[in-house]
Every structure is written in structure tokens, then in C-alpha cells.
């Protein structure tokens, strides 16, 4: 049987991979994907915690699942806004690469 630690390790790995994606990829879309991975890693941990630590009533912690639900929603909204910005950006600068966004600095 998988233990809590299994899930947490997978979650941690997923989070780290997402972070790596943010750090390495220069296409803003892919960076978003990395961010989605990070959020989902948190979701996995949340669900795992809720399943492994049932409440006094013997049920999994549904509060956590509500949070997961919210996170998914927020993530979707974030992606929508993000993609809208990317579209506007592409129209204005013909690029979606982060290294081209360096007029504001120092």
C-alpha cells in the first residue's frame, strides 16, 4: 500500500519540476504550464493529507478538497488572464519570450 510519504514525495517532485519549468523555459506559455504543475502538486498533497488524516467523524477532510476545487478554479482564471495578456503582448511586441521583456530594469 502506498503511504502518505509516497504521495508527498510525488507531490514534491511535481512541484519541483514545475518550478524548474518556470526557471528554465523562456516561452511564457510553457512557464504557465510549469506554474500549473506547481499548483497541482499542491492539490495532490492536499488531497493526500485529507485522505490520510480523516477527521473525528471518520471522513476525509473535505475542507481540503474544497480548497483544491478553488485552486483549480483560480488556476483556470489565472491562465485565462495570463493568456489574454500574452495575446496582447504578442500583438504589441511580436514575442512571447521572457528574455525579450527587459525594458524595465535596474
Amino acid at each position: 500500500m502506498p503511504t502518505l510519504a509516497h504521495y508527498l514525495y510525488v507531490s514534491g517532485a511535481l512541484f519541483s519540476i514545475g518550478l524548474l519549468g518556470v526557471l528554465l523555459r523562456r516561452n511564457i506559455l510553457i512557464i504557465f504550464m510549469g506554474l500549473e504543475l506547481m499548483l497541482n502538486a499542491a492539490n495532490l498533497s492536499l488531497v493526500a493529507f485529507s485522505r490520510f488524516h480523516p477527521g473525528l467523524d471518520g471522513l476525509p477532510g473535505y475542507n481540503a478538497q474544497v480548497l483544491v476545487f478553488f485552486i483549480i478554479t483560480v488556476a483556470a482564471a489565472e491562465v485565462a488572464v495570463g493568456l489574454a495578456i500574452i495575446v496582447a503582448l504578442f500583438r504589441a511586441k511580436q514575442t512571447v519570450h521572457v528574455e525579450d521583456l527587459d525594458t524595465l530594469k535596474f
Partner: protein
Amino acid sequence: MSLALFWIFAILTLLFAVGVVVFRSPVSSAMSLVMSFVGLAALFVTLDAFFIAVVQVLVYAGAVMVLFLFIIMLLDLRTEERRPVKLAAWAGGGIVLAGFLVAIARVISSLPGATNTKPEILPGLNDVAQVGVALFRNFNLPFQIIGVLLLVATIGVVVLSRRELK
């Protein structure tokens, strides 16, 4: 048995997650992301969180992914992914990754009860109903706030991507 399933889905998830990061083509990355999320949904199922698993597939595979692909196609980003990843980025990423992984590993290894297996819970549970109760009774206010959030996001998307008429 369940351990095997866990590993299958976990590896699926992680492998495709890596794929998101390493594939050169945005489309490949997007498709990997979908696969990773499907794997994740399966992991949710192993945790008896059916509702979340379904939402995961619906929202991500159904909505978000389409959005991603749509934008990729719209902007025709295929040709752009030819710039090599810089050494500095690799090094930086590596450092952060290593540091973070070490931290997570140390935290998890010190977590009490981390090696417990899944405790028994009440059988025959209606997962959706429980989430619904929590969502609409207990967490009504945050739920409404999320609604506002979506409204704001909608306004934002409209404002930002509106084409002005000549």
C-alpha cells in the same frame, strides 16, 4: 496492487511533467501537460477523491488545455522554440531544484505518520455530496468570492484582448 497502481500513475504524472519542461515544441509540452494531469487525476482516484479527479480532467484536459493549444495555434509559436536553454539557466534551475528537493525530502522524512498507510474511512461514501455540502454550506462566502474572481477575470480577458474598431 494499489502500490503498483500508485507507481504507474505517479511515474506517468512525473514523466509527462518532465516532458512539459523538456519538450522543445509548445504543442508537445501542452500535450504532456494533459497527460500529466490525467495521471494526477488517477492519483486522486487512488485517494478516493473522485469529484476532484473528475473536475481535474474536465477543467484541465477540457478547458485549460484547449485554451493553451488555441493560443499556441493562434500565435503560431511553433517556429520559435529554437533557442537553446542557457547554461546559466540550467545552473540556476539546478541549484534551486536541488535546494528545494532537499528541503522537501527533509521535511517529509521528519513528518510523523508519513509512513502510515491509508486509514479506513466510512465505506460507501458519496464523495460529491460531501464536497457539495462543504462548498455550498460551509464555504459559501469563499465560493462567492471565487465567482467574483471569475467575473473579474472575464472582464480582464475582454479588456485585454479586445480589438479596437478602426
